[in-house]
Symmetry: C2
Subunit: 305 residues, 2 copies
């Protein structure tokens, strides 16, 4: 893979930015990668582990001269970061982001971007429950999707170049518009996360079942929920606050269906339950066929002690 | 590991029974293992793959002369199977089961067990989303918990022997009473399964998001739900119908909490969301410390293509 940008600036040095750095290095996609994080502790860690070719003490320093600026901060912080760096953006450069919500980012970041600079939002659908500069790894984006959400009238060359970067990072790339993105993600990510957070919270609240029981016996289904519910609290707070409408709509539908199934349990309607569970089983098959998961029988059980 | 029973009969040859067979063989825990499945197709498959030392065409044939009879059928079928085999049970033998609900199994099976036979219900907390005779593997129970639920007045020697078997199969073993078991499992397994089924059903229903989008972009959280929601429909129908009260209680609490979080989203209460998500994150740490999951950063992503 050949170099796509001369200089890339990563603003925010958490799981996504650090994984981007290692994946950029793996494929030689950029000449130099600069980085900035608001917390001096994070910057120190980054310097210690060799994360970024150059860690800067201000966002402006990191951005200066960059051909690509990637905003890797929580969605709620995107607007103020964009405002902060706007004056030093190089004409002809591209600003992108990795936020999980797109309509809000476009509204918050867009107005700060100078006419001479391209703004091409994106969202890599990849992550783990870990966060921080030490959590990244080069393979995070391999065979995962990255959704590029170019606002109307975007420069096609800038979009194509960003697409090449994400392909170089290992991803498949699709384009869609912001509202559709936010609805799709409400279904596949935002609502499931809130539900997992809720279920884990309920278990924790329940006095008659001890914490140690919840933990010891988690392998029975609950474990997968706890992994989802261990994701970064700041990031997820911002996701829910900025993709409010779509998330609430999906949660409303979810509650409606849940009530129908609860009613089937209460009335003993085994046929309705069986039919429902048969249908959902088929969806799983589609995901495995699409290469987005494995059906290895020990999946998720980890290495043996 | 030395032999614990001369002859073990497995009634029902799905994921759990087939895994028990391979694990029994791995450790040499029984002299002979017989098996029976209601469907002749399953019996043929079992014979073809060498599952069980002897596959019988009736449950009674399989049970005759067995020191341990393990009921591995869906919870709703336990009672009629017990009735069917009651007359041929060997005096001094133990009947156990692997059902996910215990109060109902005790009520359905208990009355059929002769005075001369021990009845010691159990529940291994292990499984995958796969089912059928070919889905089993010897490692399924390694480092997983098996809960033994002896009714009052159980023979202590019979309980201890069954405990040795499960330890020989690779499990940790705990004892608890049936009602507590059913509540703990409602929290750690039954409610999470219904919630996952519901969320997957909602995604499938939603016309504005295509099936292929749901499948392609599932890595963003939804994937874990689909895996849970791919579990055996018959087994889960029976679980919900027979652990109705505890499951509905937990679902009621879940809905209450979900409404509180939805309200926080609607009113923009970021602090409440952040605090909630911080608390749930800590529970995850406890599960990893307890050895019931791994925090490897590529957990669940499968092998690279």
């Amino acid at each position: 893979m050949s170099q796509i940008y001369d200089r890339v600036a990563l603003i925010g040095l958490g799981l996504i930015a650090s994984s981007m750095f290692w994946a950029i290095k793996r494929a030689g996609l950029a000449g130099e990668v600069t980085g900035f994080a608001r917390s001096s502790e994070t910057r120190d860690t980054a310097r210690r582990i060799g994360l970024c070719d150059r860690v800067c003490d201000t966002a402006q320093d990191a951005v200066e001269g960059a051909d690509l600026v990637v905003l890797c901060v929580p969605v709620g912080a995107m607007g103020s970061v964009a405002q902060d760096i706007a004056s030093v953006l190089k004409p002809g450069a591209t600003v992108t982001d990795v936020g999980s919500v797109k309509r809000h980012v476009i509204q918050a970041v867009g107005p700060h971007i100078p006419e001479s600079v391209h703004f091409v939002p994106a969202h890599p659908l990849a992550g783990t429950e870990h966060s921080g500069p030490e959590s990244g790894f080069a393979e995070l984006f391999d065979n995962r999707w990255c959704l590029i959400v170019p606002p109307e009238g975007s420069d096609q060359e800038a979009v194509a170049r960003l697409r090449s970067l994400w392909e170089g990072l290992g991803s498949f790339v699709d384009e869609m518009d912001a509202d559709h993105h936010d609805l799709v993600l409400a279904v596949t990510s935002h609502a499931p996360h809130l539900i997992a957070y809720t279920m884990v919270g309920v278990a924790d609240d329940l006095r008659r079942v001890t914490d140690s029981e919840v933990i010891k016996y988690s392998a029975a289904g609950f474990r997968d929920f706890t992994r989802i519910a261990a994701s970064d609290p700041t990031m997820w707070r911002d996701v829910f606050l900025t993709n409010k409408d779509a998330t609430l709509e999906i949660l409303g539908r979810f509650t409606e269906e849940l009530f129908a199934l609860q009613r089937a349990i209460r009335t003993g309607d085994g046929e309705q339950l069986f039919d429902y569970f048969t249908r959902t089983r088929e969806i799983r098959r589609g995901i495995i066929d699409a290469g987005q998961d494995t059906d290895a029988p020990d999946f998720g059980r980890g290495t043996k002690v």
